[in-house]
């Protein structure tokens, strides 16, 4: 019986030998690092024409006593995903009266806002008078921890910015996937493109870690670049884009509850720990009512994730597609309750709580049964951890 090597004909052996000789020789000609730079250069050159600067203008009045009108401009980046469709962030265009784009080769044109979603912080612009080379969406597998990412955007004076890094962390929140990158991003990069090494879109740049101090604490100085950047991943952006293209808005889930923050204090004057969303009222005929929620219930978990703030829960609910079956855990009179709830559709496309500061000083929780609640929360927290561990092992 012939071995595997013996089965290969002599002519093929010759070709393989030649390849073995010649391929390492190529490596001597150009070092690995310079080859890497060449490849990065190619990806950026191919993708750069798809990246634009976005200018969004609105009129505002100066504070009294002058009260005069002035035009405020917000500048961000955008990326073409169709010939005349550009994705950017809601932060850049929300509330704008006029939007313009400037392409990498200096063309400038008016744009219309086809849809804005403040929950996912994504906006879709149409530029009928410009044809742009569109970027394709990459696969979620290209955005795992360690994957290489090239970010392309524009900053001051609409100048291009470029940075190479990798995915440092994935935040997998219910129905929303956020990537933390090591790439450096710059003011005006909101809406910039994050690309994989094939030049496909793996996400839209949103922001950076914490607001950096102005240089040398000079209030007039420019902000220093932050240490980490945040990108909404393509697996989240793509369905949002499809919804904005189809109907100009993203359908948000709706639970039908009115909630307020609740927290506990460890000691006199100590730090307050948020413990969930306290239900103040339940909308008649809404999903929460059907699931049996009542005023006074404390919602502590959503889809196996611990809820700390009402805004957090509201964001997760809104990011979930209407009609989805979700699991909700709440505490009533020291007893934990779990139910499956089919979410409804939110009537409000631009909920006003979206722009709320999550670090806002939370009001005190009602004092009643705080210690019991704490005990119950701890128990439910352990239970959730156990469930998640079990779920992880099963996968």
């Amino acid at each position: 019986m012939k071995t595997g090597l013996a089965r290969i004909g002599w002519s093929r052996k010759a070709v393989l030998t030649a390849a073995a000789l010649i391929l390492p020789a190529w490596g001597w000609g150009e070092g690995t690092l310079s080859a890497l730079q060449t490849d990065m250069d190619m990806i950026a050159r191919r993708a750069r024409p798809s990246v634009v600067t976005v200018f969004a203008q609105r009129t505002a009045r100066r504070p009294a006593p002058s009260g005069e009108k002035r035009v405020l401009t917000r500048v961000g980046s955008g990326v073409a995903v169709e010939e005349s469709a550009i994705l950017t962030t809601a932060s850049v265009v929300l509330g704008a009266e006029r939007v313009m784009v400037r392409t990498a080769n200096g063309l400038q044109a008016e744009a219309e806002v086809a849809g804005v979603d403040p929950i996912f912080n994504v906006a879709l612009l149409r530029v009928p008078s410009v044809r742009l080379p569109a970027l394709r969406f990459g696969s979620p597998q290209d955005a795992e921890v360690g994957s290489w990412v090239i970010s392309l955007g524009t900053s001051y004076r609409a100048q291009p910015t470029q940075s190479v890094g990798n995915v440092a962390y994935r935040y997998r929140e219910p129905h929303q996937s956020l990537l933390q990158l090591t790439n450096t991003v710059y003011p005006g990069n909101s809406g910039a493109a994050a690309l994989n090494p094939r030049g496909e879109l793996v996400g839209i740049v949103q922001g950076e870690l914490s607001p950096p101090e102005p240089a040398d604490r000079d209030p007039e100085g420019e902000r220093r670049p932050g240490g980490a950047s945040f990108v909404l991943s393509a697996e989240t952006v793509q369905p949002v884009f499809e919804s904005l293209r189809r109907e100009g808005r993203v359908p948000h889930g709706f639970l039908g509850v009115r909630t307020r923050p609740a927290s506990v204090t460890a000691a006199e004057g100590g730090a307050r720990t948020p413990i969930g969303a306290l239900v103040e009222s339940v909308v008649d005929g809404g999903p929460a009512r059907r699931a049996g929620l009542q005023p006074g219930d404390l919602i502590v978990a959503y889809e196996h994730e611990r809820v700390e703030h009402p805004e957090q829960l509201a964001r997760w609910v809104a990011a979930t597609r209407p009609g989805t079956l979700v699991e909700l855990v709440w505490v009533r009179e020291e007893i934990g309750h779990t139910a499956q709830v089919v979410l409804g559709r939110s009537p409000d496309p631009l909920p006003d709580w979206v722009t709320r500061d999550p670090d806002f000083d939370l009001p005190e929780a009602p004092p009643a049964r705080i210690s019991e609640l704490e005990r119950e929360i701890r128990r439910l927290s352990d239970e959730l951890t156990r469930l998640k561990d079990r779920g992880g092992k099963e996968h």
Partner: protein, 208 residues
């Protein structure tokens, strides 16, 4: 019967075209009927997957070129023989071996650029599609543009001057957007910067 009614409403529910009463009825039905809810989930997932498929675009004149090729193929006989001559692998192997010896010798003398001649900073020879203007050009509206001081002054034909130079001055009325994120207990939080000068943190309660 109610399941049949529910399934008739699926498309309109996805498109948000139901009345409030219909929507409430359907959501209540979902809560009590697992098969209908499962069917809707499957429909929604399918619609999302189909909607997310990449769009393939062809270059202009593709249809004409394809039809012309098809006509030529129909008119001419197939010139490719069914089997390649036996001498091709032998010649290819000999050529490859010769190339290997030559290549290794030359490279040992002093190196050779990578095939294709790419090097850092070199001009990419391939054609990269650039943005182009189409249709009627928008009229310049800004005062700067009217004075002829727009940022596109001196650019080639086809550029449309709509962005005033004042935007590039980085004045106090121009803000470059990059949302701040904070990390807390392993989660990243952000608040999209609101242009509405909305009062922050004045709502103790929210409805969702």
């Amino acid at each position: 019967m109610s399941c049949e009614r529910a399934r008739h409403l699926f498309d309109a529910y996805w498109d948000d075209e139901l009345t409030q009463a219909e929507r409430e009825w359907l959501e209540a039905h979902f809560a009590s009927c697992t098969p209908c809810h499962g069917a809707y989930e499957a429909l929604a997932r399918t619609l999302e997957l189909v909607g997310g498929l990449p769009r393939f675009e062809v270059t202009s004149g593709f249809a004409e070129r394809t039809l012309a090729r098809a006509r030529r193929a129909g008119a001419e006989p197939d010139r490719v023989s069914a089997r390649a001559p036996r001498w091709i692998p032998v010649t290819a192997a000999a050529a490859a071996a010769l190339l290997a010896v030559l290549g290794a010798t030359v490279l040992q003398w002093g190196g050779m650029p990578r095939p294709g001649g790419r090097s850092p900073g070199s001009v990419v020879s391939e054609t990269i599609r650039q943005p182009v203007l189409v249709g009627p050009a928008p009229v310049a509206r800004s005062a700067d543009a009217a004075r002829g001081t727009s940022s596109t002054a001196g650019m080639g034909d086809g550029a449309v001057a709509v962005v005033p130079d004042s935007i590039f001055d980085h004045s106090e009325d121009v803000e470059f957007i990059l949302d701040p994120f904070t990390l807390r207990k392993g989660r990243a939080h952000t608040r999209i910067s609101s242009p509405q000068d909305a009062p922050r943190g004045q709502q103790a309660t929210i409805t969702f």
